[in-house]
Structures are given as C-alpha cells and as structure tokens.
C-alpha cells in the first residue's frame, strides 16, 4: 500500500473530504460553546439544570454570533472593493 494508492482512491478521498468538513464544523461548535457558555450559563451563576432562559440565551448566542460574522465579512469585502 503506497501513498499514491491512497491518494488515487476516490472513495477514500471523498471520505477524507467529508471528515475534514465535519471536523471544521465540530471545531466551530467548540468555539461557539466556549463563548456562549460564558455569556449564558457561567454569568448567570446557576449550574443546576439549564433553565429555559439559559437555553434560549445559548440558541440566540449562536445565531447572533453567526450574524455578526456574516456582517463583518460583508463589511470587510465592501471595504476591500472600495479600495480602503
């Protein structure tokens, strides 16, 4: 089994590509959980079963963070296009 035989195997390539994508998503989940846990759970002090309020906060946190990222991306592209 050579490296070239691994590289030439289409099923393996597809599998590796899918796993890489999955890994990127999982990394993002770790990152989001890190941020949102601080905002929604740790700061509220209580650590017994997540309340409905904390759950909603976590969901909102994820959505708003992604909105934030998209906004920044668009703004940055805009600036580049404007030549600044």
């Amino acid at each position: 089994m050579s490296l070239s035989s691994l590289a030439n195997d289409p099923e393996l390539q597809k599998f590796v590509a899918a796993k890489e994508l999955e890994n990127q998503l999982t990394t993002q989940v770790h990152h989001l959980t890190n941020i949102c846990f601080d905002k929604c759970v740790e700061s509220s002090g209580s650590l017994s079963d997540l309340s409905a309020k904390q759950t909603t906060c976590l969901q909102n946190c994820v959505e708003r963070f992604l909105d934030c990222t998209m906004l920044i991306t668009n703004r940055t592209v805009q600036r580049i296009q404007q030549g600044r």
């Binding site: 089994m1 050579s2 070239s4 035989s5 691994l6 030439n8 195997d9 099923e11 393996l12 599998f15 590796v16 796993k19 999955e22 890994n23 998503l25 999982t26 990394t27 993002q28 989940v29 770790h30 989001l32 959980t33 890190n34 949102c36 846990f37 929604c40 759970v41 740790e42 650590l47 017994s48 079963d49 997540l50 759950t55 976590l58 969901q59 946190c61 994820v62 959505e63 992604l66």
Partner: protein
C-alpha cells in the same frame, strides 16, 4: 488482496476509514476535556487548597454537566442554522 499494486482493497479502505474516524473522535474528546477543565476549574476553584472540597467537587460536576448540555444545544442550533442558510441558495 488486489494484484494491482496501485489500488487498495476494500478491507484496507475500511481499516483506514475506521482509523481516521477514531482519531477524529479522540481529538474531539480531548478538546472537550480541555475546555471542561479550563471552564470548571475557573468557575469552581477560587482558592486552590490542599484538596478539592466537596462543594468544589459538586460545582465541578455540575459545571461539566452544564457545559455538555450547552455543547449539545450549540451543536443543534449551529446545524439547523447551516441547513437554513443552505436552503436560501
């Protein structure tokens, strides 16, 4: 075993795929453990003493449970958001 030395057989492929899967799962578990320790030590152990008190232990246990709960909620929310974004196009 295939006579064509340029190809891998399905057995080898399965083994490689299982190995990759295992490594990724291990990596994920390690990341989670690291985050749990960091978060919960910070939240629960203000003044490190010669051992963990029972209240510190309780806090750490609860903290790690809550963090895992949060992880699951974040994971689901994120996956749903991605699906929604994909449906736009």
């Amino acid at each position: 075993m295939s006579l064509d030395t340029q190809k891998i057989d399905s057995n080898q492929r399965q083994q490689i795929m299982a190995s990759v899967q295992q490594q990724l799962a291990l990596q994920n578990a390690q990341e989670l453990l690291q985050k749990l320790s960091d978060k919960c030590f910070k939240a629960c152990v203000q003044k490190p003493s010669s051992s963990l008190s029972s209240s510190e232990q309780k806090c750490i246990t609860q903290c790690s449970d809550r963090y895992m709960d949060a992880w699951n909620i974040v994971s689901r929310t994120y996956a749903n958001r991605i699906k929604r974004e994909q449906q736009k196009y």
